[in-house]
C-alpha cells in the first residue's frame, strides 16, 4: 500500500466512510462519525499505519482530511 492508500484506509476504517466521502470537504464533525470519539479512533489508526506517535498539538489541530495530510508530511516525514 502507498502512503496515500494507508491514509485513506485509516479514515475509512476509523470513521466508517466510503472512498467517495474522502477529500478536501471532509472536516471534523462534517460527518456524524467524525466526532471526538471517532477522532481518537482515527488518530490510533494513523499512528499504527505509519508507526508514529503524534504530538498533542498535532492531534488537536488535525481538523480536516487535507490538514491531516499536511501535518503528517511536515512533522512525521510521511511522503504522499
Amino acid at each position: 500500500m502507498t502512503n496515500a492508500e494507508k491514509y485513506d484506509w485509516a479514515f475509512m476504517e476509523a470513521l466508517e466512510l466510503t472512498e467517495d466521502q474522502l477529500g478536501p470537504e471532509l472536516t471534523f464533525e462534517s460527518v456524524e462519525t467524525w466526532d471526538s470519539v471517532g477522532h481518537m479512533g482515527l488518530i490510533a489508526e494513523l499512528e499504527d499505519a505509519f508507526d508514529i506517535m503524534m504530538e498533542t498539538d498535532d492531534i488537536i489541530d488535525f481538523s480536516s482530511y487535507s490538514e491531516g495530510r499536511r501535518t503528517l508530511a511536515a512533522n512525521y516525514g510521511v511522503e504522499f
Binding site: S36, G38, M40, I43, I60
Partner: protein, 462 residues
C-alpha cells in the same frame, strides 16, 4: 466572595457574581415559584445562570440534553406538562411554531424563555430539580433531587476537594449530566468561578480557554482519560491546574496508575470517585495521596455519608474481603424517581438509603472496590445503557437481540438481519458512536432450560 469578582466566563463574556444574580432575577421574574421548567442544559452563561436562578427562586428545572430530539421532547412535555421552557432560541422557535399557545416571554444571550400555556402541576415542597440517570435509551425516567440533596452533596465535594474562591473549574462534561452539575454546584457554593464551554478536550478551543483563564480543575469520565492519555497529558504544560477528577464508571487500574503517576509528577491532585445520579452525584472519593496505593478502589464514603455491604440475605458484612451489595447512606440520597407529572408530588421514598446495584468489597484499611453489578448495565462513553431495556425496545420492534460486553464495547448477538445495518440502527437509537458496537449474527442464541437468555454463555463467546 467578592460580588464584583468574576463568577463565570465563556469565549466572549465575563460575568460578575452581581451580574449573575441580576440576570437570574430578571429571568425568574417571569416564572412563579414552584413552576416546572424544562431547561435545555448547555455550558453557556444563559443556561447556567438560568439553572442557578431557578434553584434560588424555588423553581424546579428538569435538565434536558441539547441532543434531545423533537420527538423525545414532545413525549417529555406530554409526560410532565412543564409551564415554562428555557432553551436555545432555535430550539424555542421550533416549539413556538408547532405549539399554538406557547409565548416567548424573554430572551437573553441566545436563550429564550417560553411559556407553554400548560397549567402549573403540583410539586412537592422539597423537590429541587430533576435529572436523567445518564441513560441514553430515552425513557422519561428522572431522578427527583431535594434541596437538601443538592446542598449536602455540593458541601461534601467542596469539603474533600478543598475548593476555595480562588478555584476555577472549566466545564468538560454536559450540564444535563449529574457529574457536570455537581462541579458547578460545588464551585458556586464556595464562591469559586467557572469557565464555560461545550467544547471537548479534543478541541483547541478547550485548551485555549483553560490556559487563557487559568482554570484550576476539570472532571472526566473514563473515556475522557483515554483521550487525555492519547493527547499525552503527561507531557502537557498546565501550570494553573490544581486537581483533576474522575467518575462516571470504572477507570481501570492501568489508567489510574498512568494518571496517578503523571499527576504526582506535576503536583496535581487526582481524585478517583464513585457516584450515581440517584445519590445526587458523589458517594465516594479516593484521597489523592492514596491513588497509587489503592489501584482499582473507589475509595471511602464522602463526608456526611457511609457505606454498608450486605449479603444476599440482607445481613451486614462486617469482615473485609467479602463481596456484597454496596449500600450508601447519606443526606444526598435522592427522593426517588419520577416518570410523569403525577410523581412530582411524591415525598422522599428512600429515607437516605440507596441500594447501588453494585457488588463491592472492602479491604483491611476500609477502602471499597466495586467488583460487578447486580443488574446488567454498561457505561458507554459516560452514558449508562441498560442492556435489558435496550433488548426490550428492539424486541418491540420485532428484532430479538442479546447484549453483553464491557464498558465502551457492547457485543450484540442476533439471529437475523444484516450485522452492519443492525449496528448502525443501535448506534443511532442510543445516539452513541457506532464503533462502540460489535454486532454478530449467529444461528441460535443460547438459552437456559427456563428459556431465559444464557448471558454467561454469550460472554464466553465474546
Amino acid at each position: 466572595m467578592d460580588p464584583d469578582g468574576v463568577a463565570m466566563m465563556d469565549g466572549t463574556e465575563k460575568m460578575s457574581f452581581n451580574a449573575v444574580g441580576e440576570l437570574a432575577d430578571t429571568i425568574c421574574a417571569h416564572v412563579p415559584s414552584r413552576s416546572l421548567v424544562f431547561l435545555v442544559a448547555t455550558n453557556t452563561i444563559p443556561s447556567v445562570v438560568g439553572y442557578l436562578g431557578f434553584l434560588a427562586h424555588g423553581i424546579v428545572p428538569l435538565m434536558l440534553r441539547p441532543e434531545t430530539s423533537i420527538e423525545q421532547f414532545r413525549e417529555l412535555v406530554a409526560a410532565y406538562n412543564p409551564s415554562f421552557l428555557w432553551m436555545p432560541k432555535p430550539y424555542a422557535d421550533n416549539i413556538l411554531e408547532a405549539h399554538e399557545p406557547a409565548i416567548n416571554l424573554f430572551e437573553s444571550r441566545g436563550y429564550a424563555l417560553v411559556s407553554t400555556g400548560c397549567g402549573q402541576v403540583p410539586i412537592h415542597p422539597d423537590l429541587a430539580m430533576l435529572i436523567t440517570t445518564s441513560g441514553s435509551t430515552g425513557t422519561p425516567k428522572y431522578v427527583r433531587l431535594s434541596y437538601q440533596n443538592v446542598a449536602s452533596n455540593a458541601e461534601s465535594i467542596a469539603n474533600y476537594q478543598g475548593i476555595t474562591s480562588s478555584d476555577r473549574a472549566i466545564t468538560s462534561l454536559p450540564l444535563s449530566y449529574t457529574y457536570g452539575i455537581s462541579i458547578i454546584n460545588s464551585h458556586i457554593l464556595r464562591g469559586a468561578s467557572l469557565v464555560l464551554t461545550d467544547e471537548t478536550i479534543m478541541s483547541r478551543t478547550f485548551w485555549n480557554l483553560l490556559k487563557r483563564y487559568g482554570a484550576t480543575n476539570f472532571g472526566g469520565v473514563p473515556y475522557t482519560y483515554q483521550m487525555l492519555e492519547r493527547l499525552r497529558f503527561s507531557r502537557m504544560d498546565l501550570p494553573t491546574l490544581r486537581f483533576i477528577s474522575q467518575a462516571g464508571g470504572r477507570l481501570g487500574e492501568r489508567l489510574q496508575k498512568v494518571f496517578g503517576e503523571a499527576c504526582a509528577e506535576k503536583g496535581i491532585d487526582f481524585y478517583v470517585m464513585y457516584g450515581q445520579t440517584e445519590a445526587t452525584a458523589r458517594m465516594s472519593w479516593l484521597p489523592p495521596q492514596n491513588v497509587l496505593k489503592k489501584l482499582g478502589s473507589i475509595g471511602i464514603a464522602i463526608p456526611g455519608g457511609r457505606f454498608e455491604l450486605r449479603d444476599v440475605s440482607d445481613a451486614l458484612i462486617e469482615v473485609p474481603g467479602v463481596d456484597g451489595e454496596l449500600i450508601y447512606v447519606g443526606p444526598n440520597v435522592s427522593m426517588g424517581y419520577a416518570e410523569s407529572a403525577a410523581d412530582l408530588m411524591l415525598g422522599d421514598e428512600r429515607g437516605g438509603i440507596l441500594h447501588t446495584g453494585d457488588v463491592a468489597r472492602r479491604d483491611e484499611d476500609g477502602y471499597y472496590y466495586v467488583v460487578g453489578r447486580i443488574k446488567r448495565f454498561l457505561k458507554m462513553f459516560g452514558n449508562r445503557v441498560n442492556l435489558d431495556e435496550l433488548e426490550a425496545i428492539f424486541a418491540q420492534r420485532g428484532q430479538t437481540i442479546a447484549c453483553v460486553g464491557s464498558d465502551d464495547h457492547m457485543v450484540v448477538y442476533a439471529t437475523e438481519g444484516d450485522a452492519n445495518e443492525l449496528r448502525l440502527s443501535i448506534a443511532s437509537f442510543t445516539k452513541l458512536h457506532p464503533s462502540a458496537f460489535d454486532v454478530r449474527i449467529v444461528d441460535e442464541l443460547p438459552r437456559m432450560a427456563s428459556g431465559k437468555m444464557d448471558y454467561a454463555a454469550l460472554e464466553r463467546l465474546c
